[in-house]
């Protein structure tokens, strides 16, 4: 939720109470100039409102360190591989974020991803079902599994931790059972399943998407701010909106430029970012998203406000498992195979770690969809960099643990800052 930047020239609403509707003198005014923005930024930093800044600084640090150790790290090929690699776990992370916003946890997403991979492999290869139908079936099974988790949690009152712990074991068991004697089921290298992670778009598509995203962003915020202005509410001036749109466009164009140096924008990454953007819009702009935050903030208050808390919980677990299943499909696609080990390894921990590193609170009610992208990039970059340096998994786990710990410490500091600086927070 962004902080509104009020300006002093909001017109009075008229009537007897016109003095009341003027901006409150206690509000700090942000000047519509770069200097004013920097001051507002400093104010936010001091009060613990760090936003994505620590993660971005972390990413820059990671880039500098690995690039100086191995100059292939920032090469277009490595960065392009990185974006494809993070897509699968990133999709699982978006689901985890929904559950974390409720203040709950889902430990079963790795097993659900594995189950989806097994369903996909068995249907598409062994049973010879159409690959698209197999993908749909795997997603549907993921959704169903999540709804079962949600039902047991919300209606029967079993803690989500225990329900999904049972899921972690149970769905992995079903995964192994479905795989049967084969350790691996190889998928067709040219079918839709493989194309999910093997498709790259021609340069023009990438440029077009970047420009379109920035323009859509500008138009939508400009419309809202214009309405706020007309309604006499504090609003952001057009200059600031242009500045923000430019701030969005720059990294977009940069990414597209780098990706176009290699094979173009990968479909897998686009699917991942697409889900992140859609989830963000759902969470911030729709009634459903508001309900999710409300249930995560204070379930009793949400219930009294007439929100069907059980329905929200069940649906969130359903969405989380469906996204985990999509992650499993992506894993299958990238490995050209579903195997007994798909989703059974570090995926669960990495997905939860990415959400927390990206800035979603473990305590419910606070966080956003972009945590999946930022956290995924951090973990993906560390993995990719250490692989380039030929470090083994042991080192990678330790470094990832340190990053996770730093993220949680920053979160704790930020919570304290919010309390003392009257910003609120969970």
């Amino acid at each position: 939720m962004t902080q509104q930047t009020p300006v002093s020239k909001a017109p009075a609403q008229g009537g007897a109470e016109s003095a009341e509707s003027k901006r409150d003198p206690r509000l700090l005014v942000t000047a519509a100039s770069p200097k004013g923005w920097i001051e507002a930024l400093k104010r936010n930093l001091r009060s613990g409102e760090l936003g994505p800044i620590p993660v971005v600084i972390g990413l820059v640090l990671i880039a500098v360190v690995f690039q100086s150790a191995n100059d292939r790290f920032l090469s277009p090929q490595n960065l392009s591989n990185l974006t494809v690699q993070i897509a699968a776990i990133g999709l699982m992370t978006t689901g985890v974020i929904m559950v974390l916003l409720l203040g709950e946890i889902d430990l079963s997403i790795g097993s659900v991803a594995g189950l989806a991979a097994a369903v996909l492999g068995v249907l598409a290869v062994k049973q010879g079902v159409n690959e698209w139908a197999a993908i749909a079936a795997a997603l549907a099974i993921g959704l169903l599994v999540g709804l079962v988790h949600g039902f047991v949690f919300a209606k029967l009152g079993v803690p989500a931790f225990v329900v999904t712990l049972a899921g972690l074991l149970g769905w992995q068991g079903l995964h192994l059972y479905l795989m049967g004697a084969d350790g691996t089921i190889n998928t067709s290298p040219s079918g839709p399943i493989s194309l999910l992670t093997q498709t790259f778009f021609v340069p023009a598509v990438g440029w077009g998407i970047a420009l379109l995203a920035a323009v859509l962003y500008f138009v939508s915020v400009a419309t809202v701010e214009r309405r706020r202005h007309q309604a006499g509410l504090p609003y952001k001036p057009p200059v600031e909106l242009l500045f923000r749109a430019a701030l969005l466009l720059l990294p977009l164009l940069g990414s597209v430029w780098v990706l176009n140096q290699y094979k173009g924008v990968p479909l897998a990454f686009l699917i991942f970012v697409g889900f992140v953007v859609v989830l963000d819009l759902v969470l911030r702009k729709t009634r459903y998203g508001r309900m999710v935050y409300a249930v995560g903030g204070n379930a009793e208050a949400a219930r009294r406000a007439g929100i069907n808390v059980d329905l929200i919980r069940i649906s969130v677990f359903g969405i989380a498992s469906a996204l985990a299943a999509l992650g499993g499909i992506m894993l299958t696609s990238r490995n050209f195979a579903a195997s007994v080990s798909t989703g059974g390894g570090e995926e669960l921990m990495m997905a939860i770690a990415a959400a927390v590193i990206g800035g979603t609170s473990l305590f419910g009610g606070r966080g956003n969809a972009y945590s999946a992208l930022l956290g995924g990039l951090v973990l993906g970059a560390i993995t990719s960099g250490l692989l380039l340096l030929q470090m083994n998994t042991a080192v990678r786990f330790m470094i990832t643990a340190a990053v996770l710990l730093i993220a949680v410490i920053l979160d704790a500091f930020s919570r304290r800052g919010r309390k003392t600086h009257a910003r609120g927070g969970a």
Binding site: Q13, E20, D24, N298, A301, R418, A422
Partner: protein, 265 residues
């Protein structure tokens, strides 16, 4: 006096073997603040729950709304009539901002399912202005507000449903002096807007400051109905405790001074 907005007569409520309310009468009119007093376990909360629909009354009693008999068998019935209840634990979501909390469960939408933040913020601003509530930014999470501001937001939230009777359960219990004054100001403004207010409070000073009438319950029965202006503190305490023979009146007889004199200056 004209017909009361809400009138209950002969209301009883039994929980198992316990008769929490027996034959209770109560009424509140437009622009009237009625304090509901009683010791712990006197049946105040039960009466509030009967009115709010959380615990419907046993059969036998009559509830009338604008003089017409009605039944309140659930919270939605009470809301439809125009009865709003603000419980002691405020039921706000700390992580949402003021606008989000005000409209929680009742969001203004434009396209199917998408929030109309501009409309909601304007309406919130209008509502708070009409109550002369001044809060710098409506976009701060309510966790950062003071206790009094939070209580005011909770009350304001209930007003969005255009209620005609508002029930407040211990609205000043956890508040400091200045914050209590803010909430009492707000109660007076509700009265001036023509709402009927039912106020549960243990704080006699608050009751005497804003209430027009005090209804006393004792052991689930009516124990008095006093116009505040011409009733002494001792009379009310006597009704609450069930006898003139109580430590407070004994002391005031002994010292000759009204305990009230020290209570509200």
């Amino acid at each position: 006096m004209s017909t009361p907005v809400l009138e209950l007569s002969g209301i009883s409520k039994t929980f198992g073997a316990v008769r929490a309310l027996s034959d209770v009468d109560f009424h509140v009119g437009e622009g009237e603040v009625v304090a509901l007093l009683g010791d712990n376990g006197a049946g105040k909360s039960t009466l509030v729950k009967v009115i709010s629909g959380a615990h419907p009354a046993d059969s036998g009693g009559v509830i009338t709304w604008d003089g017409k008999p009605v039944t309140i068998s659930g919270p939605s019935d009470a809301q439809r009539l125009g009865i709003a209840t603000i419980y002691q634990d405020l039921a706000l979501c700390d992580n949402l901002d003021i606008v989000g909390n005000l409209f929680l469960g009742n969001e203004k939408l434009h396209f199917p399912g998408t929030l109309d933040e501009v409309e909601m913020e304007s309406r919130a601003r209008e509502l708070l202005d009409s109550l002369s509530v001044r809060i710098p930014s409506l976009r701060v999470p309510v966790a950062s507000l003071s206790g009094g501001q939070r209580q005011i937001i909770a009350i304001a939230r209930s007003l969005l449903g255009q209620p005609r009777v508002v029930m407040l359960d211990e609205p000043t219990a956890a508040l400091g002096v200045a914050q209590t004054a803010q909430v009492l100001d707000l109660i007076e403004r509700l009265r001036d807007k023509g709402l009927g207010v039912l106020l549960i409070s243990h704080n006699m000073a608050d009751v005497r400051a804003v209430a027009d009438r005090a209804v006393v319950l004792r052991l689930g029965r009516n124990a008095g109905n006093f116009p505040i202006a011409d009733t002494s503190y001792e009379e009310i305490v006597a009704a609450i405790t069930g006898a003139a023979d109580n430590p407070v009146s004994r002391r005031s007889e002994r010292t000759g001074a009204s305990a009230l004199a020290t209570e509200d200056k």
